[in-house]
């Protein structure tokens, strides 16, 4: 169990900068999630910590010690690889037992048997012990890889999308198991995913990566409610956050927006006005989550905008309705029983109290309502 520190890590593959000046501290016993789109450098970052890749610049510290020149076998880290990296010539049992049979982490066969038994029961693969990896499905292989990672008690667990190939139900179950295990054995875990739900549900803290750079580090709450820019805001939440390009009008004692070429005036919440006045631009992008909007099929009042239904997708516990307002697609979360015809008229009202404001030029976060609540949490 150890703290992981990365200092100014830069890693290059040819001309491509996979990691660009990354600074990161993962605290002891923390469940830390690396989140970002494909090709963001998440896997490279994990491999840098594992010692499978060596950075051109920067320092890697595990438990306070610089390990840049320590071979990966001596770092005592355990990793799940995205492509499983199982030994094709060994059975499932031998695969999982492999780390306990190396000279460095040697255990006696009796111990190995109980350890493998325990972990395979948890992964529900204890009926497959004699099989070779080629005789398994992808989901089973992934669980074997996860098992091989979890039989050890390393300084840090590194998991590269360990649940990506499991079916939805099993993934949900494993998510719970991982969380449970993490709290019970007190281990530092760095977990890579591109599934925002996995990230939010598992993480103590999340780091969002893009193009090899860390965009934001924070708790799931911070990511969701105070994303540092539009990119982060878009990553979290389903349906994707609606970013409305608005124009801000500042008058003596009033401040309001116009969006989507509509005449409706949108008034921000009181405690955001000051920050908005200081924004230094009147091009403001308003981030609006799908569940922060109301809709109606009859026009209830003047502050409602008119649009047409573009799509209506029931996804089980809710319906996602896409509404077209002035050629801009807006996604709304609706109750489960919502039925709408294509091109039907619909009226939408923005719930400005939950709006997130971004600078229209830099796409950076400006403010949102009730900031103190989220920032207070940050310090605590």
């Amino acid at each position: 169990m150890a703290q992981i520190e990365l200092e100014n890590i830069t890693k290059q593959f040819g001309d491509v900068k996979a990691l660009n000046n990354v600074n990161l501290t993962v605290r002891d016993n923390e469940f830390f999630v690396l989140f970002g789109p494909a090709g963001a450098g998440k896997t490279t970052l994990l491999k840098t910590i594992a010692g499978a890749e060596f950075p051109e610049k920067g320092l890697v510290r595990v438990g306070g010690e610089i390990v840049n020149h320590v071979e990966s076998k001596d770092r005592n880290v355990s990793m799940v690889f995205e492509n499983y990296a199982l030994y094709p010539n060994l059975s499932v049992f031998d695969n999982i037992a492999s780390p306990m049979r190396s000279r460095l982490y040697k255990k006696d066969e009796e111990f190995i048997k109980t350890a493998v038994d325990k972990v395979t029961k948890m992964m529900k693969i204890n009926h497959l012990l004699e099989r070779k990896p080629s005789q398994l499905s992808n989901g089973q292989r992934q669980r074997v890889a996860l098992g091989r990672c979890l039989v050890r008690t390393p300084n840090v667990f590194l998991m590269d999308e360990p649940l990506a190939h499991l079916d939805a139900k099993l993934r949900h179950f494993m998510r719970g198991e991982l969380k449970e295990m993490q709290t019970s054995i007190n281990s530092t875990t760095i977990y890579v995913t591109h599934d925002y739900m996995e990230a939010m549900s598992l993480a103590d803290r999340i780091a969002v990566l893009n193009h090899g750079e860390i965009i934001q580090i924070g708790t799931a709450q911070e990511m969701y409610y105070t994303p540092c820019n539009e990119f982060v805001a878009r990553l979290f939440g389903e349906p994707e956050i609606n970013i409305l390009e608005g124009k801000m009008y500042i008058e003596a004692d009033d401040i309001y927006f116009k969006v989507l070429n509509q005449d409706v005036l949108l008034h921000p919440a009181q405690d955001t006005i000051e920050a908005l006045r200081d924004a230094g631009t009147n091009s403001i992008h308003i981030g609006m989550r799908g569940n922060d909007m109301q809709f109606a099929f009859e026009k209830p009042g003047d502050e409602w905008m008119e649009g047409t239904v573009y799509a209506n997708e029931p996804i089980g516990n809710k319906v996602i309705m896409t509404v077209l307002i002035a050629d801009k697609k807006i996604s709304l979360t609706c109750p489960n029983d919502t039925v709408a015809e294509m091109d039907q008229k619909v009226y939408v009202k923005f719930n400005m109290i939950n709006a997130i404001y971004f600078n229209g030029e830099t796409k950076e976060f400006i403010t949102r309502n009730n900031m103190s609540r989220y920032t207070a949490k940050k310090e605590g």
Binding site: A50, A52, S72, N83, A85, L86, Y87, P88, Y105, P133
Partner: protein
């Protein structure tokens, strides 16, 4: 009624077909096997014929062991056999020891002109041996490698190395780097990773390529003809001796060849399992 008749007819036809099909297939395969094996059979038959009956009999003749006696006892055939074994075996061992790491480097590391180097190695097989034999002969004479085991084994690398490197390289490329990294994270040192994780995966290809390399080396003619001859004689060169100036002792040539083929046949049968799997690539994906 007629409908029923038709039905039984067609089912009868089917059952006849069912019997005929395997018969036809086996017949075809037998014919092909005879065609393919005939030279070998002919060679063995010739080995038992006396020179007198060589040209005027086909299958019916008085078998004699005279040829065997002449070859095995009358000449130093066994010495040549043993020396051939040393040269070909030594060449293959060195090829495996040097070629596998070379193949690994070509598969894993990025360095300048990597593909050029790989192609250069392959191109050693393009040129006919006779083209390079003269300069090699002159160099060997100068540096004292002429007519030595070491010299022959060295020059045999031209025959054996490219094949092994290219086959094994393909195998290494099929193994994902992550498997090695996983083994390292499991706490294995680099040589343990290599011998415990990689070698089992490349074994089919390595064995198959090594066997083919052995056959090429065993049968090599040009190199030992020019580069040795007094102290060291390989079997291919020795077989020449039965072509005397006055007559060709086909019986003795046949005996020499028959015995020369034996080790190859035995080794091939021994590792047949690997041979089939080994040359079909991508067998290790998993």
């Amino acid at each position: 009624m007629s409908n029923h008749q038709q039905l039984t007819d067609s089912s009868k036809n089917k059952s006849i077909l069912k019997i005929l099909e395997p018969i036809g297939r086996n017949l075809g395969l037998t014919l092909f096997a005879m065609f393919a094996l005939f030279p070998l059979v002919w060679m063995v038959i010739c080995a038992f014929k006396s020179d007198a009956q060589m040209y005027n009999t086909v299958f019916v003749f008085q078998p004699t062991l005279e040829n065997f006696r002449a070859v095995l006892i009358g000449t130093d055939y066994f010495k040549a056999f043993f020396q051939n074994l040393v040269v070909a075996g030594g060449a293959v061992i060195i090829t495996v020891i040097a070629g596998v790491p070379c193949a690994y480097a070509l598969a894993r590391y990025n360095f300048k002109k990597k593909e050029d180097v790989a192609f250069q190695i392959l191109s050693f097989k393009f040129a006919p041996e006779i083209m390079v034999i003269l300069p090699i002969f002159l160099i060997f004479q100068k540096v004292g490698l002429y007519d030595t085991f070491f010299g022959l084994i060295w020059v045999y690398q031209l025959i054996t190395m490219p094949l092994l490197i290219w086959v094994v390289r393909g195998y290494f490329e099929d193994i994902s780097v992550e498997v090695e990294q996983a083994a390292q994270l499991d706490g294995y040192t680099w040589y343990e990773v290599f011998f415990k994780t990689l070698v089992p995966l490349i074994k089919p290809g390595m064995v198959a390529a090594a066997l083919l390399a052995f056959i090429f080396a065993w049968n090599s003619f040009t190199f030992p003809l020019i580069l040795s001859g007094f102290k060291i004689q390989t079997i291919t060169i020795t077989a020449l001796r039965y072509i005397a100036s006055d007559t060709v002792h086909y019986g003795q040539v046949a005996v020499a060849s028959t015995i020369a083929v034996l080790p190859e046949v035995i080794v091939a049968l021994f590792i047949q399992k690997h041979l089939v799997r080994g040359l079909s690539f991508g067998a290790v994906k998993g």
